[in-house]
Point group: C4
Chain length 247, copies 4
């Protein structure tokens, strides 16, 4: 009996409930989105005391929902220890731990920890299709991503050292060290170009031009690999459909 | 007889008039472009009274043309109610409604409504090839666009919460809340980088670097899906060529 | 005899001289690059009188070379009138006409006309492979480029009207009319983001976010079509190799 | 015997030691990364005397390691002269020469030379897969890269001359010459858009819009070719696996 109920709960949390289908899962997703709105509202200053009470109440309700979800997932998991130490078990735990701190008196450290409630947002990714794609994106070219991550880091470092050499005398406040110059390298080679740091010497500008014409694509490769991994979803989706509770 | 005329008018409005071909449609397109110029000119300050009169007169003429077009399309439609409640029927209606308000006395609310005349511009898209491509772009990967739209929103939100955490104490005026930080996230992850908001703390800059190297591609996926949908036009264009009045 | 010489000259100008090969053509390319350097140097202020004399002398020599080239091309062309009115004939003419004005006294109008000497730079594109690719890039998807050019213009116009609506009251100096707002639309949707104009109202920022997430790719399509046209060179290069003097 | 040892050393430096495998190579890579950290730390101002001594000591140790590596590679190379004049031989030499200057008294010239220690970072690229890809990226479309490099240069020059024409009277300090305008062209056509230079005249802005819509893709082609060359790794990797010491 209990085993049947456990299986039923596991199916419901997977969005495969025989009667209500995706409804329980959709409810959880609603709670996650509501949680994101709560976090956003709490970050905005100038709330009235009433509003603050409403937000705290909402937070308590959401916390209760996620604690219940965590308990149900733990109870219904075939391998309980495996669940706790799995990626999603950790996310589920991180989603409730910071909020529990709301019961304690206020302090700056706690305030920061509470922000970790945003980990709840990652639970949205538990959607089967999304997670299959993400797994695929990361695992399918892990080796490539490492290689091009290192290459991007080298290009960024070389660009930082180069611009440091050209600009450190002309603008010692913003190109005064290699870490400061690395900020320029990031903002430039991703083409964000905030405009807070830019070369003013002729040498620095020529160096920037050459660096951009050559390095623009290399720094963009890691992000591009993630993107293409996400877009090229695996075709074996139907095969993995059978592994229902394989968290 | 009337039925023959109706069919003839419908064909003409589709750019398939047996005698004049695309001429009537081209005339309508000219009127739309002229309308865009009128809107642009009216937005510019410092017109003389004469110029204002000319613009108002032009607007009246254009309004007459679009009202006539709307009436003809309504009259010649096989399914009149279907036309009114179709996408293009709505666009046609929105194109003339705001301009009719010019007959009323001036007010701020009306001024805003008048700007809605820009919906006329969308009528340019009635071009068969363009609309086929747009439909294809939206419908062919609707599911993908939803998935990656959600993913982009999550990445933007996580970036906003992260930078809020790092910068809220150093720059409380521009990173003072999560919605304000979200503006930074949009400007940064699309690589626009206006330079009105940017991190100044070491933690915020390192976080920016990591976010850019990972998230750059993900935020660009929805726009990329629209683009690729537009570029990969359907090959069955010739087949749909037969459905002449299928608005 | 003259016919043989004409053919020889034509071959030499094509870089297919039986004895010197690409040497005459390479010499002309050198003259063009030298001309670009002369234009650049002349634009820089603070030259000594001697330097100015040297630059003028260099200009005279280069002018003589290009006048000679033009005369030789005209004389050796199979169809002389066809050459004059061909694209390259026009470029060749535009390359020498502005420089001839150096013989006239100085004036602002002439100064501007002289800048048109940069058309010489286009002569560099006479390289067979480059021109084949350019022709291919333009002709192969002329229809697509028109369609997406119109689409990009519509997106830019809609973005300009939208931001004008949101920001015209908050920032009347920089969003005071639709043309001014169009400047913002260009700088934003190409992700250049100079930072001279950006929205400050909440409505304007939300509109910017939505516009960017949707429109980013559409504005980039025309440039992308040129790029892909250039990269996908025609394979029939060897076939066209036989049409030696087909300018 | 010596021949056997030489072969063993060569294999170890290739990360193919029969007993320790990739361990010796990994150690060298660690030394290179440590060297990058040392360079970064030395660029930061305000170190205590103790810290400076530690950094100098670390530098000496790293120098010893790289000198030893150079000697071992030279000694174990089948063709010693070939190694010295090969690309990697040069990099190895450049990695130790600047550091040797640390033994000499301080001066500005030497300080700059010391920065050349960053060439050590390139040694990280000695990884077999990375180098194969880089070689492939550069050699496979060398001709294309030259062609599109020239094309990008022409587009940038034309953009610089154009904006110089439109803006030189309105903003003589920042668009006062073609080289200054070229800085704008680079920052704009790569979409970095720092915001230090931007057009303010109507003509200049229209020119910028057209230049961006057309030229955006062309300037990005060289970087794109490198990127695609890097991503499309050669499949004959296994075949080249046999050429063990072919530096």
């Amino acid at each position: 009996m209990a085993s049947g109920l456990k299986h039923r709960v596991a199916l419901a949390l997977e969005g495969e409930d025989p009667r209500y289908g995706k409804l329980p899962l959709a409810g959880l997703h609603m709670a996650i989105v509501l949680s994101a709105f709560t976090i956003t509202l709490q970050s905005m200053p100038g709330h009235s005391t009433d509003m603050q009470k409403i937000l705290l109440g909402l937070e308590a309700v959401l916390l209760a929902i996620f604690v219940t979800e965590f308990c149900l997932r733990f109870w219904s998991a075939e391998n309980r220890l495996g669940y706790i130490f799995s990626f999603w078990g950790l996310i589920d735990l991180l989603s409730i731990l910071p909020a529990l701190l709301f019961l304690l008196p206020d302090s700056t450290v706690l305030r920061t920890l509470r922000l970790m409630r945003i980990f709840r947002l990652l639970k949205l990714l538990r959607m089967r299709r999304a997670i299959l794609r993400l797994e695929h994106a990361i695992s399918s070219n892990r080796e490539e991503m490492l290689l091009f991550g290192v290459l991007a880091a080298i290009v960024l470092f070389l660009a930082a050292v180069g611009i440091y050499h050209f600009e450190k005398d002309a603008q010692p406040e913003i190109f005064g060290s290699i870490p400061q110059s690395a900020w320029w390298a990031i903002a430039t080679l991703t083409t964000v170009g905030y405009g807070d740091v830019y070369p003013v010497t002729t040498g620095g500008r020529v160096f920037t031009a050459i660096t951009l014409l050559i390095g623009l694509g290399i720094v963009a490769i890691p992000a591009g690999l993630i993107t293409s991994g996400l877009l090229n979803a695996p075709e074996e989706e139907t095969e993995t459909e059978t592994t229902t509770n394989g968290e």
